[in-house]
């Protein structure tokens, strides 16, 4: 649309013809109040708050439905308009309770704010208000009709936004009421988006309501710890006697790629942090064979002594290390560096949920071919292969739905089972469960509806799930790269599980690959690592095999639960000295000699990389006395082993050593900003060895694809990374597929971690009941 110029309150504004006046004004910093208008959702013109005066038009017009055209003249604030808004609020308050002091939304209520700006000083209302009892629709959602202003944001968000359509409007006039789809209960995805968009206290959250006043919380913007989409989440935290607790999760900071979207896990699944099962003291197995609480010093010295002893007596090859899909990039990088340079072993792996290594290999030498979430959000055409994003990648599903709805994107789905996103799809290609290998042949033949339509697409983003591995990835990527005359028009995304599985892979938690998928055998790779063991180590399964054979001296498990993943006879590890860093006494931790209580992602700082390669900053929100971030644990472990810490974490650049006892790693973002200022002023930054950002320089410098825009990252934006080392050579010795176990998480599960969320359990039980009910109907 061509730009047009129009006048608002005497100011000349320019916007594309057809832009909604309310959007054009907001962009220009002219605020127009509205309850029902919500960007991205269908127009209502129901609340009548956005009325403005348009020249030569007799009645006040709603800015949410007026599209701008050349030469128009508008007034958005005048006594007449203020009176109209005042009267509308007066009318609204007629039946609305005036008990803001006890309303859960008090302090962050749009009606309250609007009344503050436009409302009348006193109420003319002398009638009895309509009353209805509050209803609980699910463990997550409560509805209080008297507070509802019928803006229909919730029904639209649920229907148009989530494609769930679980909320409706019953009755008419002043009797109108929002209703859930199962009588008094909500049978839905329990995403809580309806609560999030509610401008007043009508829809409240089961996990948050009446716990605090909003102004008592601090709000910390970080990244969700659950699935691999990497939603930005704003955690509302409040100080407690033993740290800081998380009271709410939403995304008030809408700058993230997820906008205001969060799924049930992101919104409600933070309560594991406060779980009674949480480990807060190190545990060491005593002479009676029982785990008993110990001091950090004691536990670290027991672990360090044993690791040193085995390394020095049997060599690093007798030690194994298993990393985490949820720890930060800095922690993962540090873990592999610690393993390779301190423990002297390449026996390092993580619980792979998808085949990122094959993906990187397939794209080696083809830069600019990975799709960020932002690419996907505005893609014209998407081919989705072998995945059900609605359950496993809720944000991806949200972005695809939104792209189809608002941008008329064309979605194509090739899958072995029906999935919900088919409702948005232009064409479907059913495949047998093991049929993904034939997909490229089908696409090449161009006989099916989907193949024909995909062929006609000029540009395409191909997103594939963990069913596609190894050579199948190679084939699909090769097909994509060769499909059209314009090789720039294709991008790919490979889907894994958990918040930093991509980071674990990118940071080299592989026996054969260094950070950035650089083969360990690559000449000159990571030359600055001292004494890098030259040969590839053992994979996770191989390590467990060796342990079963009694030949693995020690195993360090960081934030992983391999015993539960591949059901393992507990006796298999009886000859292995097992050290576990975790939040909980998991099946694996139960078998350990030393258990070190770790901080969750919400209690630490650093960066994570989502499955699309978007790097985001993680900020410490909560705090729990007794636990330590894995980063700090590893540094302390190395120090206890007598290793040179400076080689591991390059802190205090010009040789100044910092106090190991200081713990401001917690506030690392701040420390980093200080460092930038100090350096800019020619002063020496004094970084802590526990500050992940002390290591981030090295990651940027050494890991291919991670030389990213750091200022942008620190500002809280997602920054795309693309590890596609030109030196990658196919590694056939490790056929990656064998070691991949997808998590297959649902909307309410999140691997081992999710089991410790009471909120997610409740939601799962509620939905199971709903399912049983509708099956019985």
């Amino acid at each position: 649309m061509p730009d047009v110029t129009f006048t608002v309150d005497g100011k000349k504004l320019t916007a594309p013809a057809g832009t909604l006046l309310i959007d054009a004004c907001r962009k220009a910093g002219i605020e127009i109040p509205a309850f029902c208008y919500y960007p991205g959702l269908s127009l209502q013109a129901a609340c009548r708050m956005c009325v403005v005066r348009q020249e030569k038009v007799p009645k006040l017009q709603t800015a949410c439905t007026t599209t701008v055209a050349e030469g128009q003249v508008f007034v958005t604030e005048s006594p007449e308009i203020a009176q109209a808004r005042k009267a509308t609020i007066e009318l609204l308050l007629g039946n609305h309770p005036l008990d803001c002091p006890v309303c859960d939304a008090g302090g962050e209520c749009e009606l309250q704010d609007m009344n503050f700006k436009y409302g009348a000083g006193e109420s003319l209302y002398a009638e009895a208000k309509h009353h209805r009892d509050e209803q609980q629709w699910s463990p997550a959602v409560f509805y209080d009709r008297p507070r509802c202003i019928l803006c229909y944001r919730c029904t639209r968000m649920c229907g148009e936004g989530m494609d769930v359509w679980a909320l409706g409007v019953n009755n008419r006039g002043a009797d109108s009421v929002i209703v859930p789809n199962d009588g008094q209960q909500l049978d839905c995805e329990q995403c809580g988006m309806c609560i999030d968009v509610c401008p007043v206290g009508a829809l409240t959250s089961g996990s948050y309501r009446y716990k605090t006043r909003p102004w008592e919380m601090n709000h910390v913007s970080t990244v969700c710890t659950h699935c691999a989409d990497g939603c930005k989440v704003t955690l509302g935290v409040r100080s407690t006697t033993d740290g800081a607790e998380i009271i709410r999760a939403d995304n008030r900071d809408k700058s993230g790629i997820n906008g205001d979207f969060l799924c049930a896990k992101g919104r409600f699944g933070f309560d594991f942090v406060e779980s009674a099962d949480r480990l807060t003291k190190p545990l060491v197995r005593n002479s009676a064979g029982k785990l008993e609480p110990a001091t950090w010093e004691h536990a670290l010295s027991v672990a360090a002594k044993k690791l040193k002893e085995i390394r020095d007596s049997r060599g690093g090859a007798a030690i194994g290390v298993i990393g985490s899909n949820r720890t930060t990039n800095e922690e993962n990088y540090l873990l592999q560096k610690f393993s390779r340079t301190v423990l002297a072993t390449n026996n390092i792996d993580h619980e792979r949920t998808t085949d990122y290594a094959s993906f990187a290999r397939a794209l080696a030498g083809h830069p600019g071919k990975t799709a960020s979430l932002r690419d996907i959000a505005s893609a014209c055409a998407i081919l989705l292969v072998g995945t059900n994003p609605t359950d496993e990648h809720p944000l991806l599903a949200w972005l695809l739905r939104t792209d189809v709805r608002l941008n008329r994107a064309r979605l194509y789905i090739a899958n072995h089972a029906p999935i919900k996103l088919e409702r948005q799809a232009r064409a479907m290609q059913g495949l047998p469960p093991n049929g993904y290998k034939d997909l490229t042949t089908i696409l090449d033949r161009g006989e099916t509806d989907l193949a024909k339509a995909v062929k006609a697409e000029e540009s395409l983003i191909v997103i594939f799930g963990s069913e596609i591995r190894g050579t199948a990835i190679h084939n699909l990527v090769t097909w994509g790269l060769n499909r059209g005359p314009n090789p720039d028009s294709v991008r790919f995304a490979c889907l894994g599980d958990h918040s930093n599985s991509r980071g674990a892979a990118d940071m080299g938690l592989f026996p054969d690959l260094l950070p950035g998928y650089v083969p360990i055998t690559e000449p000159g790779a990571f030359v600055e690592y001292a004494d890098l063991p030259p040969a590839a180590g053992k994979t996770l399964s191989q390590m467990l095999d060796v342990a079963t054979a009694g030949e693995l001296g020690a195993l360090l498990v960081v934030g992983a639960n391999p015993v539960s993943r591949a059901p393992l006879n507990p006796a298999a590890l009886k000859n292995t000295f097992l050290i576990v860093q975790d939040l909980f006494l998991t099946e694996t931790a139960t078998l350990a000699e030393v258990v070190l209580p770790a901080a969750s992602l919400y209690e630490k700082s650093g960066t994570v990389t989502n499955t699309f390669g978007d790097v985001q900053i993680v900020r410490k929100a909560a705090d729990r006395a007794g636990v330590k971030p894995d980063f700090e644990i590893l540094v302390r472990l190395a120090e206890a082993m007598g290793g040179p810490i400076k080689g591991l974490v390059p802190f205090g650049r010009a040789g100044t050593t910092a106090d190991l006892g200081q713990s401001r790693g917690a506030q690392s973002g701040e420390a980093d900003r200080h460092a930038v200022w100090l350096e800019a002023n020619g002063l020496e930054p004094r970084l802590s060895p526990f500050d992940p950002f002390a290591l981030f320089d090295e990651i940027e410098r050494l890991v291919p694809g991670y030389a990213i825009d750091r200022i942008n990252l620190i500002a809280g934006n997602d920054v795309h990374s693309e590890p596609a080392s030109p030196g990658l050579v196919p590694v056939t010795a490790l056929a990656g597929e064998d070691f991949i176990v997808p998590a297959h998480d649902t909307l309410f599960t999140s691997g081992t971690l999710g089991r410790y969320s009471a909120a997610l359990k409740q939601l799962e039980e509620h939905q199971a009941k709903e399912l049983a009910k509708s099956a019985a109907d």
Binding site: V164, W165, A166, L167, G168, V169, N170, N171, R172, V179, P180, N181, D187, C188, E189, E770, L771, S774, A775, D777
Partner: protein, 190 residues
């Protein structure tokens, strides 16, 4: 999230005649959903009210969720979710009828039937409600009994109207299915 409902055809919600009528109704319109409101009204005529089973069956026939059916059904004032009497007496009290004694007529109905607004007589024969304008303003006050109009009423005419319907109720018509028969006996105006 609406899971597949088992086919409820095994539960006979509607008579074979009405089911056949509905089969034709969904074919009638360019878009199937246009059949929704007539279907609800005709279903109510036969069943007496929109029971959960009726809502579920109509949803199935139109291919929409029960929630969507309820969103629509609760909007329209003629549709009800509780049983009414076999003869539902709807007294218009809007302005034209008000001016010509509608409330006196309404009160007389209450007295004769011994029920209040929205009441149903114990024998289930009559129910009574006050309604908005029924489009008989020039023949006010007007009352509708089910779909029959009774114009230019006076309180004294009430007993006669009631006994007429009582006779029909006694004449062997049982419950809601009589509505269909009655609709065919063309005597809409008393």
């Amino acid at each position: 999230m609406s899971p597949n409902h088992p086919n409820p055809e095994s539960i006979p919600v509607f008579s074979p005649q009405l089911a056949a009528r509905f089969d034709a109704l969904v074919q009638k319109y360019p878009v199937k959903r246009s059949a929704l409101i007539p279907m609800l009204l005709y279903a109510q005529d036969e069943v007496g009210y929109l029971s959960d089973a009726v809502v579920a069956e109509v949803a199935r026939r139109i291919g929409i969720t029960e929630l969507e059916v309820r969103n629509v059904a609760t909007y329209y004032s003629m549709l009800r979710f509780r049983p009414a009497g076999q003869f539902n007496i709807q007294v218009c009290t809007n302005i034209s009828c008000l001016l010509r004694g509608a409330y006196e007529v309404y009160e007389r109905f209450q007295e004769e039937l011994g029920v209040g607004p929205h009441g149903v007589t114990p024998d289930g024969v009559f129910s009574l409600e006050e309604v908005e304008c029924v489009g008989a303003c020039c023949w006010a006050p007007a009352v509708q009994v089910n779909y029959d109009f009774h114009d230019e009423l006076k309180p004294d005419l009430v007993p006669g109207i009631l006994s007429g319907y009582r006779g029909k109720a006694k004449a062997g018509n049982n419950g809601a299915s009589s509505l269909e028969k009655k609709a065919n006996s063309k005597e809409p105006h008393a």
